[in-house]
Symmetry: C2
Subunit: 290 residues, 2 copies
Amino acid sequence: MGGRVGFIGLGIMGAPMARHLLAAGFPLTVHSRSPGPVDALVEAGAGRASSPAELALTSDVVVTMLPDTPDVEHVMLGDDGVIAGAAAGSLVIDMSTIDPGPTRAIAAQLAARDVDMLDAPVSGGERGAIDGTLSIMVGGADEAFARATPVLQAMGKNIVHVGPSGAGQITKACNQLVVAATIETVAEALVLAERSGVDAAKVREALLGGLAGSKILEVHGQRMLDRAFEPGFRARLHRKDARIVLDAARAAGSPIPAFEVVAAQLDRLVDDADRGDLDHSALFTLLDGA
Amino acid sequence: MGGRVGFIGLGIMGAPMARHLLAAGFPLTVHSRSPGPVDALVEAGAGRASSPAELALTSDVVVTMLPDTPDVEHVMLGDDGVIAGAAAGSLVIDMSTIDPGPTRAIAAQLAARDVDMLDAPVSGGERGAIDGTLSIMVGGADEAFARATPVLQAMGKNIVHVGPSGAGQITKACNQLVVAATIETVAEALVLAERSGVDAAKVREALLGGLAGSKILEVHGQRMLDRAFEPGFRARLHRKDARIVLDAARAAGSPIPAFEVVAAQLDRLVDDADRGDLDHSALFTLLDGA
């Protein structure tokens, strides 16, 4: 396999990730809906492709970073999609956070054309994308993972091959389940402290060193104390991910009674309270203002 | 104030805590319902009192470590209770985990006799009690806290004075809220991984370093993977603490929508599944077996 990389989806996450690939010396072609980020990458040395199919024609590895499941389906399988241009033996790495079920279906369609696909969603947010320190959870075949590793290493640090196709998306869903539920839980505890007349900052401090300790209590607990809800990770994106969790749990027949309440709180925050552009730690505001 | 300490309640937690007081050189008198642990402490050098009142008569500081709210009310305020023997100017430290509301009421009754009371519940479990490394969350007046500090330091390490009377119990309630909810959440995520055909051990590993990371994911996540549910902290004790959380939230008018589900899961585990003597991480078994 050659080292020509194509990158589709130059959003807040994708643009800095693509820059890391350029900086690592990969010959890079890019494609995105908005022309601005494409122009910026072309100025930095990347080639431009007018469609996913054209990009795939000249790439050994195609990386996608897109908002949601329908976007990935369209870019991969639509007219002028990756599947129309990708050569047999090429590799696709989807780093979007999407539904595990459709992920496996897309991978199967690509496999029928002898194109390997990995699902490789990330955590670490815009900061991690800019710093090249994303955590990457990978699903797919061993051989494809081995081929992808140099590309992934240019963008992330903690790269775990979790299992077969879809396993990366399942892992990301588990991550988003735990993160949202822990935010809700920490918020419930800190509001209980405040409403009971106890200094919530001291409660956070007392809890941090023990069994109740978590990264969320540390980082988002402090945001709650400071009422500092500028994003960070927008609540509406976490709500999208919560739907992926609900779909995955339904598909697996796996009970998630506490998370169902958390998902409903995210719906309330985005739809009823219209706070979808605040940080996900703004779940606190639903309790604090109640 | 003299340094004579009385200790009431020589259970799994209380007995090793009392031993630390002896080892630290405090003249110690003990009282407990079961004669066995009293005999053992007397053999080690403690004096014996036949009632809480008698114990209080000869103690400058009375420490209590009892199962539940009614036990503390009875020992403090009943016939032959601490209140009947405690001298004006003496200090009571209740280290039990009980309701914040009744705690304040007991403290007020003792204050009317010029007896100070601190609520000082602990976390760290039997291991922490034996090692003298308990975390202690203290509510009460500054001056009482200062007097209590040498006594508390003999039993614990991370000693935080959170606020006025009841603040220690509120903090403990917040702790138990977060711990139980995080256990439930981690269980929901790991069962989702397993039912989706993904190696839950790899999911735990992938999540530990990031935002989803917590002490619970580390310790209880591993218990879940190993199906190692011998206690540890018994589910029936956490169910008792969940009721304290529910009471405290009701009293404060504080919403706890996700924790309500967690409390119901603890009820199911103890009452329906009859697994109250397993570790609280056995919340996992309700999902795993569903």
